[in-house]
């Protein structure tokens, strides 16, 4: 019996102790009419050898195409040490650290992680993770409504240059509550959100303004002006950031004169493999004054009976298991193991390594843009410095081209047709430090060929 250790003798002895004659009898409180017959829809068991073979086949079936798509998930080098440590049983198979004394490893790691995130973001406190970047934005919106006591409108302004799926997820998750996410157009010339567009809201009751840096198109927003406008108008600022970019970009804690109020983002770039979209982790950081409105677990440092330092979950009164219907969020299980990966990643890279990786990504995206726009019929839509992403416009529909590229083992980018039809045949492309110049040349020559150039 796979994974069941009971011997015949064990079973007999245990049944005798309980005082029943069969295991079946233990289910006698379940009404007989409800009992399940065979689960015919489940195949017979495979042993480990058989499932290994199957999974190897399935994993190989999809090949190892060359990736030129980002759009919120980035192929970075993941140091081997990370997952060799993270999958150690002591991290991998432990529960949430409810018994602090028996979980100091996880707790100290989380404390170190929180510290690193505060430093990266320039904020005071960070939680121990949310599900992913998109849901983190939703939580930030809900939090802003709680935290901005001066505002009663629950109106949140969201530029259309924020990741469109993030906006959708935020809409889904905040949908049950009386909260408005107002989408504001971006500047069609520059691909960024123009701080001037906020002027029409001056004097109104705005709860918060969201700004993504770099934005979905990979461009840099005028975060200082936006932040200052928001604060001047009683609104909080929610920053959505790529944590890797923070190695080179001004941290949200320093945006404008006062810095933002809530920072969220997707932690995947920090040592987490692409893995079909998850598990990743969302991060969130804020100012000390808002910490009690923050959702998610927080680890604190304290002392033990002997005065020795140690770590424990703290401020649990915000959480569902204590506060129940009045909790800051319903989140319980979060993305702990991914945070462990990120903590090791940040430790290995350090400030300097992170900066180099970020810079290399910038360089490779530039190389990519140069190589592709050299092809007649391919043009860059928005100019200027960027990170990771670039919007290209083609002279024909994107979808069939992406299919043709896929047949040649290239994942060519993200088709913007659904979310940004106004951009025409637009394609979002990305290169990270993992794309070599040769990879880029291969993409360019393949695309040129497909375009008949």
């Amino acid at each position: 019996m796979p994974f069941i250790p009971h011997t015949e003798a064990d079973i007999r002895a245990m049944l005798a102790t309980i005082g029943v004659s069969s295991i079946e009898e233990l289910f006698d409180e379940i009404p007989a009419t409800l009992r399940t017959r065979e689960l015919t829809g489940i195949p017979e068991a495979l042993n480990e050898m058989q499932i290994s073979r199957l999974m190897h086949v399935r994993a190989q079936q999809d090949g190892t195409p060359l990736n030129f798509v980002g759009a919120g998930a980035y192929e970075h080098h993941v140091p081997a040490a990370i997952w060799e440590i993270v999958t150690r049983g002591e991290f991998y198979s432990a529960y949430t650290p409810y018994q602090a004394e028996a979980s100091q490893g996880t707790l100290q790691l989380l404390y170190e992680y929180q510290t690193m995130m505060t430093r990266l973001t320039g904020m005071d406190v960070a939680n121990a993770s949310l599900y992913d970047g998109a849901s983190a934005l939703a939580e930030a919106a809900l939090m802003a409504v709680r935290a901005n006591r001066r505002s009663t409108s629950a109106r949140i302004l969201v530029p259309a240059s924020v990741h469109p799926i993030y906006r959708e997820v935020a809409a889904t998750i905040t949908g049950g509550q009386n909260l408005t996410l107002e989408v504001l157009a971006y500047d069609r010339q520059r691909g960024t959100f123009s701080p001037q567009s906020l002027d029409s809201f001056t004097g109104e009751d705005i709860t918060a303004v969201v700004v993504q840096q770099p934005n979905f198109f990979g461009l840099f927003e005028e975060v200082d002006a936006i932040t200052d406008w928001a604060h001047a108008n009683g609104a909080l600022v929610i920053a959505v950031v790529n944590p890797l970019s923070l190695a080179i970009l001004k941290p949200p804690g320093e945006w404008g004169t006062k810095g933002v109020d809530i920072v969220v983002g997707e932690g995947q770039p920090l040592g987490v493999p692409l893995s079909s979209g998850g598990p990743y982790f969302g991060f969130m950081a804020t100012r000390k004054e808002h910490v009690r409105q923050m959702p998610g677990r927080i680890v604190g440092r304290t002392v033990d009976l002997d005065g020795k330092p140690g770590f424990t979950l703290t401020l649990q009164a915000r959480e569902q298991h204590i506060r129940r219907s009045k909790a800051t969020s319903n989140i319980c299980t979060n993305q702990g193991l991914l945070v462990a990966a990120a903590t090791i990643y940040l430790s290995l890279l350090g400030s300097r390594g992170l900066e180099r990786v970020a810079a290399a990504c910038q360089r490779q995206t530039s190389t990519l843009v140069r190589a592709l726009t050299r092809i007649p019929g391919v043009e860059l839509v928005f100019d200027g410095p960027r990170f990771h992403e670039a919007v290209l416009r083609l002279d024909r529909p994107v979808a069939p081209l992406l299919s043709a590229l896929a047949e040649r083992g290239i994942v060519g980018g993200y088709d913007l047709a659904r979310h940004y039809p106004e951009l025409g045949h637009a394609l979002l492309v990305c290169a990270t430090e993992t794309r070599t110049d040769e990879d880029i040349e291969l993409y360019a020559s393949t695309l040129a060929q497909l375009l008949g150039r």
Binding site: P2, F3, I18, I23, F27, P43, S52, M55, H56, R58, V69, P79, A81, T87, F91, Y92, S93, A94, Q99, A100, Q104, T106, Q108, E112, T118, L120, D132, S135, I165, V169, T172, I173, G176, L249, P251, L274, S276, G277, G278, V291, I298, T302, L305, K308, R323, S325, N330, T333, G336, L337, L348, L349, G350, G353, R356, A359, R363, P385, S403, E433
Partner: protein, 488 residues
Amino acid sequence: MQEPLIFHHSRPGRSAAAQYPADAVADVPEHLRRKRPAGLPEVSELQAVRHFTRLSQLNFSIDTHFYPLGSCTMKYNPRACNRLAMLPGFLGRHPLAPESLSQGFLACMFELQEMLKEVTGMKGVSLTPMAGAQGEFAGVAMIRAYHRARGDHARNEIIVPDAAHGTNPATATMCGCKVIEVPSLANGDIDLEALQRVLGPNTAGIMLTNPSTLGVFERRIVEVARLVHEAGGLLYYDGANLNAILGKVRPGDMGFDVVHINLHKTFSTPHGGGGPGAGVVGVGERLLPYLPVPIVGRDDDGRYRWLDERDLPHTIGRLSAFMGNAGVLLRAYVYMRMLGRDGMQRVAEFATLNANYLLARLRAEGFDPAYPERRASHEFIITLKRQAKELGVTAMDFAKRLLDFGFHAPTTYFPLLVPECLLIEPTETETKQELDAFIAAMVAILREAEQDAAKVKGAPYTLPVRRLDDVRAAKQLDVAYTEAESGA
């Protein structure tokens, strides 16, 4: 042994230089540029490996300890699941890779959906929720969407039993619903009369787990379902306790309209010190149109593809940037294939056998079951109310002392309505020997409590730290290491 903070290992200018490109200069306009380095630790690769390896050793875990944490289903996480989910082909797949390059992966996901439908008795499944609580959110959001679609706008009350897990009421609130509590009877079953009193035109639905968090099976579940349905409400099944009944009785057959399943419990994906999990949702006929996207569909030609808003125009929408915790889903898929048809049923059988054995033995040793007349399901509650009064030794004290004996503590003080409770869930993957050793430890602690209560109250003694000051942690908030202290 304690381990210094990673920041204490750090020295300016050090780094794990094999991990990044040697050159490359950032191109950022002056006013948007970071001015000072981020203050991340500067350590060598060996220092990082050593630090985090040492930290790991400070944890209890399934791979090292019996971990009978009630409601959490801490069972063996097969290593094959990890290994196979981490094959390069799976790890390297971008979530937006075209379907033509994703058929192997999508096949796994499609089959997982099918298997989950079968074990829950549901008609449709969405894999996207990233943990139980997000599954609950999806479920309640679908219930609301259903009522709303019928123009039934008044239905905004979600009924939960007093013993419900905190995520249930918190979820209801997140969905904009009012939470109505119903009490349970002394025998652990729901108070049907109380239930009838709160049912009405505002009832959106009820959230239940069965067996309940009291560790007993709600015997009148058919009656409950009838009452709720008659009142126009829907039934939500919190699948956290599915391990107890897998293959024995299905939520769909009990009358539930929607269910979430904690794959990190019943389907043994790891908890990872706090996640990731996966809280997939299954629905009956009525809620099919509202399932969150994306979902994996199969076309007539056998090709798999993503179903999205275009296929499910009434979907409640998306819950994550991509498709949820794919890697967790792969692990669950491997686990389910290894269990197979018969293995599924054995899960519930041996989880229940272990729980009832442990209960019988502990009772014989003088511990008080919270529901002495009832069978244990896969878990059960011991109340130490008597010991707390007579000996001054609380459930917390027992829990901490158990750590010294090499056992992770059961869940304490949950459910809230049972005083001084230990919620004990041994799971099916533990041996009788291990259970016997746990019982011996419980008895030894009871004797200690009788003879030297202070000893128990001072526990633990053998862990990296002694009992921690939680109050201080909350009062003198220290949630990030500061520069000042680091002397940097």
